[in-house]
């Protein structure tokens, strides 16, 4: 296996893909958003319960590639219990990481386990997969429920 592939498909990613955390519906949710990348066939819904500006509960549903599933799973684990401002800061740090050059150092202190997704930087076509759940979360936090989120431009 090439180093790039090993970096992309780290154990933690394969593990979150196989057994996604915080997967399913959330009865008590008060924020929702949906995202899809139709070209890849990735689909995602994020449900949140935000109490006093804090993410008390978060779950996601959907199907897609290992990167999109693992990213959603890691994201839910990372933002649970955070304030919306903290979640948005993580969103920005995550964006900065996945869109940076492969040689750029990763801010592991801020990102924690999310740093595992840094491997997508070697695979420009896969950045949108890692991004989808975060953009969907962002829309949910902004209460843009009706908006269809995608990280893919129409292309063929």
């Amino acid at each position: 296996m090439s180093d790039n592939l090993r970096e992309l498909y780290q154990q933690i990613i394969l593990d979150h893909n196989r057994s996604p955390r915080n997967f399913g519906k959330l009865e008590a949710a008060n924020r929702h958003a949906q995202g899809s990348n139709p070209l890849c066939g990735d689909m995602l819904a994020v449900h949140l319960r935000v109490d006093d500006d804090r993410i008390a509960e978060i779950r996601f549903e959907g199907s897609g590639c290992a990167i999109s599933q693992a990213s959603a799973s890691l994201m839910t684990s990372a933002v649970k219990g955070k304030t919306t401002a903290e979640a948005n800061a993580l969103f920005r740090a995550f964006q900065a990481m996945v869109t940076s050059r492969p040689s750029t150092p990763i801010d592991r202190d801020t990102l924690g386990k999310l740093a595992a997704l840094g491997g997508v930087r070697q695979f420009p076509a896969r950045v949108k997969c890692a991004n989808l759940s975060w953009h969907t979360l962002h829309a949910a936090l902004e209460s843009q429920e009706g908006k269809k989120i995608t990280t893919e431009r129409e292309q063929e």
Partner: protein
């Protein structure tokens, strides 16, 4: 360029894949020590020297606008352009070069027929019939017409194997049916449709038929006269020609009846503010300066295809399909999507526990180029209950060795995902 610089076109007896591979410079590419395995031919095909050289030669020596200048170069370019029309006419088995319209490709051909032929002829209570296995380019133009006219778009269902349900087709054909448009060979499943039966059934009721031939032209000789269809669309880039050029065959009487699609230069007879009169078909549909270099390249592609032994190629591609199918089915948890008995060398598959996109990325690391996704046929994916497939689509220059490399890379997918 056809007939002008054309090399000898005596068909090559038999089929020597190694010799054919030498015609395609890109296939020599080696990336990080690995030879390129290109098995995404349904998306676009690679180009032989003959095509690349014809386009270069055109720009280096022959470039001029057509149908305008009185000078030598312009006259030659015009001649070359019209020569390709005759070559495409022969390639498709049409009877008259005026039945060939040069367009950007299959997508534009479907849009032209939808807007110029069908739209004026349908209204509320009328049906246009397509199938569940169409490419988006043979769906969306009809949805537009349906919205514009109030006509209803009806869909011929497909079976689990990915074949047209011909009984359902028969019952969908009613007095309301005004047009039928179906794909000749499915790009996502490989199914070769019984187009002669479709045309016969539709014509019994006097209903015209369009065929999307984007995937057929690179794999088999097409004879629109024998098929009897009313319209047939092809894309140059799928048949070893350049991008941005394709052709529509349309029966002369239909083309004559159709209003222009785009307005501009080239497509008129006389223009005044009081009244403009149009040139006859096909010029009527070729407004503006066309893709002359692309057309020259398409001519070279057609010439190239003419020189090949198609019975032998058919055998070669069938062998690749069967060998790939057999080899892939040995991979645990792999399922083939599209199992029609009558099938081109397209093998779509899904792997248990692994998304098609991850398959594509891992194969790319092994320099194996396949397509993963919905292949612009979302309804097919929905119908067969898969979010996406990985697809290997073969062409005449692929080999059993390519299949081995594909399967080896897929075994690595299993390794990565540890299942």
């Amino acid at each position: 360029m056809v007939g002008v610089h054309g090399l000898s076109t005596a068909p090559r007896a038999g089929f020597d894949v190694e010799r054919v591979r030498m015609d395609f410079p890109i296939l020599e590419q080696v990336h990080e020590g690995r030879r390129l395995v290109y098995v995404d031919n349904a998306a676009t095909s690679q180009k032989p020297h003959a095509v690349i050289d014809a386009v270069t030669r055109y720009y280096e020596n022959e470039n001029a606008n057509i149908h305008r200048g009185v000078y030598r170069l312009s006259a030659q370019a015009t001649l070359a352009y019209e020569h390709v029309r005759a070559a495409v006419q022969q390639f498709l088995g049409a009877t008259d070069p005026h039945e060939i319209v040069f367009l950007r490709g299959t997508t534009e051909a479907v849009n032209l027929v939808a807007q110029s032929f069908v739209r004026p002829r349908v209204g509320r209570g009328d049906d246009v019939l397509i199938s569940h296995m169409e490419h988006h380019s043979n769906i969306v133009p009809w949805q537009l017409v349906a919205e514009q006219t109030g006509a209803t778009l009806r869909v011929i269902p497909i079976t689990d194997a990915g074949e047209l349900d011909m009984d359902a087709f028969r019952s969908l054909m009613t007095h309301r049916t005004k047009f039928v448009s179906v794909v000749h060979i499915s790009n996502s499943l490989g199914t070769i449709n019984p187009i002669e039966d479709i045309v016969a059934l539709a014509h019994e009721r006097g209903v015209p038929v369009m065929l999307d031939g984007a995937q057929a032209a690179p794999h088999m000789p097409v004879d629109v006269t024998a098929i009897g269809c009313d319209f047939y669309a092809i894309s140059g880039h799928k048949m070893f020609g350049p991008t941005g050029i394709g052709a529509l065959y349309g029966r002369a009487n239909h083309l004559a009846d159709m209003p222009p699609y785009h307005g501009g230069g080239e497509m008129i007879r006389t223009v005044s503010f009081a009244k403009t009169t149009y040139a006859p078909a096909p010029a009527k549909f070729e407004a503006g300066t066309p893709n002359i270099a692309g057309t020259v390249g398409l001519g070279a592609a057609v010439e190239y295809l003419k020189g090949l032994d198609w019975a032998a190629i058919r055998q070669h591609e069938d062998d690749l399909r069967d060998y790939a199918t057999r080899s892939l089915l040995k991979v645990p948890g792999l399922r083939i999507i599209g199992t029609a008995p009558h099938k081109a060398a397209v093998v779509s598959f899904v792997m248990e526990g692994v998304h098609a996109h991850d398959v594509g990325t891992i194969l790319d690391e092994r320099e194996v180029a396949i397509r993963s996704g919905h292949h612009c046929t979302q309804p097919v994916m929905d119908r067969l209950g898969v979010p996406a497939t990985a697809r290997a689509s073969f062409a005449l220059y692929n080999t059993r060795d390519d299949v081995d490399r594909l399967v080896e890379a897929i075994r690595e997918v299993r390794e990565v995902f540890g299942t």
